[in-house]
Amino acid sequence: MKEISLKNIFLVFLKMGAFAFGGVYSMLAFFEKELVQKKKWLTHEEFAEGVVIGQLTPGAPIVNTGIFIGYTLKRLKGALATVAGQVLPAFFLVLIIAYLYIKYNDIALIRSILKGIGAAVVGLVASVVYSMGKKFLTSYKSISFAVIAFLCLAIFKLNPIVLIVISGIGGLLVYREGRL
């Protein structure tokens, strides 16, 4: 196999970072096509491992899958190259948008555009809740976890970080199956 250089890793992930619009699933499909099918840097199995690891670690799963792949190919430098590639295009775009946002925020037209977008964001977050629900609410136990977390945040205003930690411990206790 041809030697994979850091520059190549960076460039492939830069391409993904620049063109992968439309959320996690389109990015995963993109990863698979570029890295497994075209470049053959990874096998299907390694890629699948990367996806699982990405979801089991904190942060954006897609970035984490990239870090895993970069680390597998070229250790820490490879990992850094994937993050830089994935993040730089969006970062520059964000800088431009942020600059314009602050400058033109009080123009009436921009306010009306943002009003429409704000409403769409609510629908979007609700759709994420819906798709998570379809995937994760599979038993009375998981439904209880969701309802309790919901109430703790919506009504008792507990800190969500604390709630995530508690639900992790709760998961250990409920799903330990006699191991603890």
Partner: protein, 171 residues
């Protein structure tokens, strides 16, 4: 130094963003909006939209928040604080990934965390809704965006652009 406090906040929020990029939203709302008042709820919603509008991960919205509050260095610093926890943890896990993935402790705790973060996100959807859904057109846009994403394969980027155009036309 306010900016160091901000970068530290972004760092630990990302450390606890477990179960998907969207999990960051309840944590950010708590710290950035409710606790430190660096952003209003409206500006927070705008930052989610911008994170969604740009290619790549949603978590880049932290760079927007950084810019809004502290200018360029806030933005650049936010990128580092956002991805540093991932880099540290994933490189460690990558060495032992087979053991890690198969560890029952990891799997059992995730079975608790996944539905819980869904509940957290539902609670946040309600607060965001109270802020953004102020009349019938905004409620309809939200309903439309929910249905398009939940039941079709529409890209969120196009959705945000479309909603922006609708907003401009209606208001």
């Amino acid at each position: 130094m306010e900016i160091l406090k901000f970068l530290w906040t972004i760092f630990y929020i990302n450390l606890f963003t477990i179960g998907g990029g969207y999990v960051m939203i309840p944590l950010l709302q708590r710290e950035i909006v409710d606790h430190y008042h660096w952003l209003t709820n409206k500006e927070f919603i705008d930052s989610i939209a911008i994170g969604q509008l740009t290619p790549g991960p949603l978590t880049i919205m932290n760079a927007f928040i950084g810019y809004k509050v502290f200018g360029f260095w806030g933005s650049a610093g936010a990128v580092v604080s956002t991805y540093l926890p991932s880099i540290i943890i994933v490189t460690i896990v990558s060495r032992y990934y087979v053991q890690f993935r198969n560890a029952w402790i990891v799997n059992a705790s995730f079975q608790g965390i996944r539905p819980a973060v869904m509940g957290l996100l539902a609670a946040v959807a309600i607060t965001l809704g109270k802020e953004s859904l102020v009349d019938i057109p905004t409620a309809l846009i939200a309903l439309g965006s929910f249905s398009l994403i939940a039941f079709t394969k529409t890209s969120p980027t196009f959705l945000i652009l479309g909603a922006g155009i609708l907003g401009a036309l209606i208001y």
